[in-house]
Symmetry: C2
Subunit: 432 residues, 2 copies
């Protein structure tokens, strides 16, 4: 990287899309990245920054001076600028806000006062509004007025009443196809979804998906229009939520692909510690049956199979339930039916695998009674798996917790404990 002149890199990067430059920066190690950004000079701009991954941004921001940061914030659309400001710690935020024009500063301060991951953080304030008493002609003339600054991308006009409440929306394609004297109120559609500024971004994303929205007005308390959310912001939210769901189910707190070794180790540690606790709990259950294990060594050999099958059947149920809760497909009105179905599915598969494993054990250890014991334990544990796989996420949701986050650990604790207890307990009772 050092042997080449600065021009070389700039010429190399110049033709690339900002998103691709960002990808390139992400792939480098911390030190190389810092070097390249220095070499890039003005090529490192707001656009490239906005495409970087969150973890990488934090790294990059540390190396920028306030002047460069202020330049980036001024160049970003308001929603991306908010993203930028969010990444900074309080002191840096203060410093940066002091360096940008007073008018913008007030806006950003207000925005940062909205809750994290709310519609207010997601929206952009640049929105094209038209009073409801205008005609199509007036609207078009207004938009043609060079003095008026319009956002880069917009697909609808938002029609507002005198107190600036949104009353309808007009598609640009509709506007183009309508004669000038028509009142704008005649061509607006009124059943748009209005999003309160405090709404959680996940709920906003749900509305967009459910109703196939492209744009939705955002209002503050009292109903005044304060901004607009577009579908491209929603694509990002969906992506984030997707990442969150999948990582939480896998026992990872946050995406640590770009974190360094120490940070990653720290992030993973706490989940593993919880898991150690539950694993020890399961071992205590095994410990209850020391005498049985001493007498019949086959029990030690077979017991992981019962626990493993329960864990896997439970994970299947859990995955479907967590996903259904996230998409609002599992609700209180059908919860009872779904739980019943999952227990039934667990029971049927339990019986099938009980027969299979019973025969395998019988053949392996030449002991029909042992086969019977493992078969019964298998059915019990897979019924428990179906029950726990649905009730745990439903319960967490009821308590207002995210069902994805701790479900897996609760589930495997239950299937391990039930698996070991039913198998070893039955064995102790029948075989000894």
């Amino acid at each position: 990287l050092e042997s080449k002149p600065v021009d070389y890199f700039q010429a190399l990067l110049e033709p690339l899309h900002a998103a691709d430059i960002a990808d390139l920066l992400e792939q480098l190690s911390g030190g190389e990245r810092e070097q390249l950004i220095e070499l890039m000079g003005d090529l490192f701009d707001a656009e490239v920054y906005s495409h970087l991954d969150y973890t990488v941004r934090e790294d990059v921001v540390e190396d920028l001076d306030t002047e460069k940061m202020a330049e980036i914030v001024n160049d970003l659309a308001s929603d991306d600028a908010i993203d930028f400001l969010e990444d900074l710690d309080e002191e840096e935020q203060r410093e940066l806000l002091d360096a940008i024009p007073a008018e913008d500063r007030a806006f950003y301060e207000k925005h940062l006062s909205y809750p994290d991951e709310s519609a207010g953080r997601l929206m952009q304030r640049e929105v094209v509004t038209v009073p409801s008493f205008w005609t199509v002609g007036q609207t078009i003339d207004h938009m043609r007025d060079k003095k008026i600054e319009l956002p880069d991308d917009f697909y609808n006009l938002i029609i507002v009443d005198p107190s600036h409440h949104p009353v309808g929306m007009v598609k640009l394609s509709k506007l183009l196809r309508t004669k000038r004297p028509t009142p704008i109120a005649n061509i607006m559609w009124e059943d748009m979804k209005i999003i309160p500024v405090n709404m959680d971004q996940e709920d906003a994303a749900y509305l967009f998906r459910q109703y196939g929205l492209v744009e939705a007005p955002v209002v503050e308390e009292g109903g005044r229009l304060v901004g607009v959310i577009t579908v491209d912001d929603i694509v990002e939210v969906l992506d984030e939520e997707h990442e969150e769901d999948i990582l939480k189910l896998g026992g990872v707190k946050e995406d640590d692909l770009y974190s360094d070794v120490v940070e990653t180790t720290r992030l993973r540690f706490s989940w593993l510690l919880v898991n150690l606790g539950t694993a020890i709990a399961a071992s205590l259950v095994i410990g209850l049956f020391e005498t049985a294990l001493e007498k019949v060594v086959a029990l030690a050999i077979l017991m992981p199979i019962v626990a493993s099958m329960g864990g896997n059947a439970g994970t299947q149920t859990l995955t479907v339930a967590v996903r259904a809760l996230a998409t609002n497909e599992l609700t209180t009105s059908n919860a009872f039916r779904i739980v019943g179905k999952e227990v039934l599915v667990g029971g049927i598969n339990g019986i099938l695998f009980a027969i299979l494993m019973g025969l395998v054990s019988w053949a392996w250890f030449q002991d029909p009674a042992l086969g019977g014991v493992i078969a019964c334990a298998m059915v019990v544990n897979m019924l428990a798996a179906g029950l726990a796989g649905t009730l745990i996420p439903l319960g967490l949701e009821k308590l207002g917790k995210d069902p994805a986050i701790a479900s897996t650990v609760f589930l495997t604790t239950i299937t391990d404990v039930v698996g070991f207890f039913s198998f070893l307990g039955l064995a102790a009772w029948v075989l000894l």
Copy 2:
């Protein structure tokens, strides 16, 4: 459901959005659903259908006659109609195609010839094209022409050359703000992404996300424009891919929330069977150390802890790797660094938990040598977990397989086998 008159239901459902009616239908059991659809009469239309979940659609389609189906297909936008046709079996497809106008039929037949989950299936053919030699005025006049049918929603015009190749796009907002005599070619942007009709829908979604696209032209071989993909289709694809990723990692073949008990049991069975195989393999490893287990029962009590910690650490790594592969963040250029990092993280956490668990075991069984054995086995298994958690998904990707689908089962097989073998093997060597 039966006691009320038909009008009652129609009055009840009338004011609801189609997406909400679809949700209601999804929540009902099969029999109730059939009944309600019958009661709904004309209220059950293309729009409601297009919002139904795939599994439910299959169910619903069985109860419709060809006439009703043809009506639905005619009312749907072309991309949704394709969706509808895809759900049918071949015979029904043929029957339905014969019942719709010949012109549309040819179009649908062509569309159905594109590969499953390709851009061709996703696109809509309704697209507003403008020859590159027109002026803004001509374009606006053309769009105002009542005789010309335009799609309901569009945000860009696609500018084409005489051989119908896309050469640029013009935002409607830009069109509105430009003077009539300006040539349309002067205001178009040319660096749009052009999507080949055979591109996988996941790759198309990647382009939309990476470059923040709202609309992209789709071309057939040779470069002729055949349709357009809009971001709302992409939102659905992202949602589907999300579902696929999360379900596959959880060992579920497809979303079976709305499947009946028998179907669900069948879908879950094959994965559980694979898991039974690997669980038996792990037990065979345990069986190798029968003598050690007979002599030291503490080994049977502690061995699940080693396996469980390896499995969980491996799942963490695996989740991050699968996710990074899906978003193209893990590539051959940084694979080596990421694998190294994960092994290091596994090693460090391995040492920390080895110390912890070593002390716990020592205290529990009053045996320092046993503590040492479990500590060593823990380090070995967590190193293996870091290695397997990255190499398995990378290997599957290299082989052209989906890394999500079988990663978990390979991983737990490895962590179980390595966990049991290192712990029991070391114990047999040191303690006996």
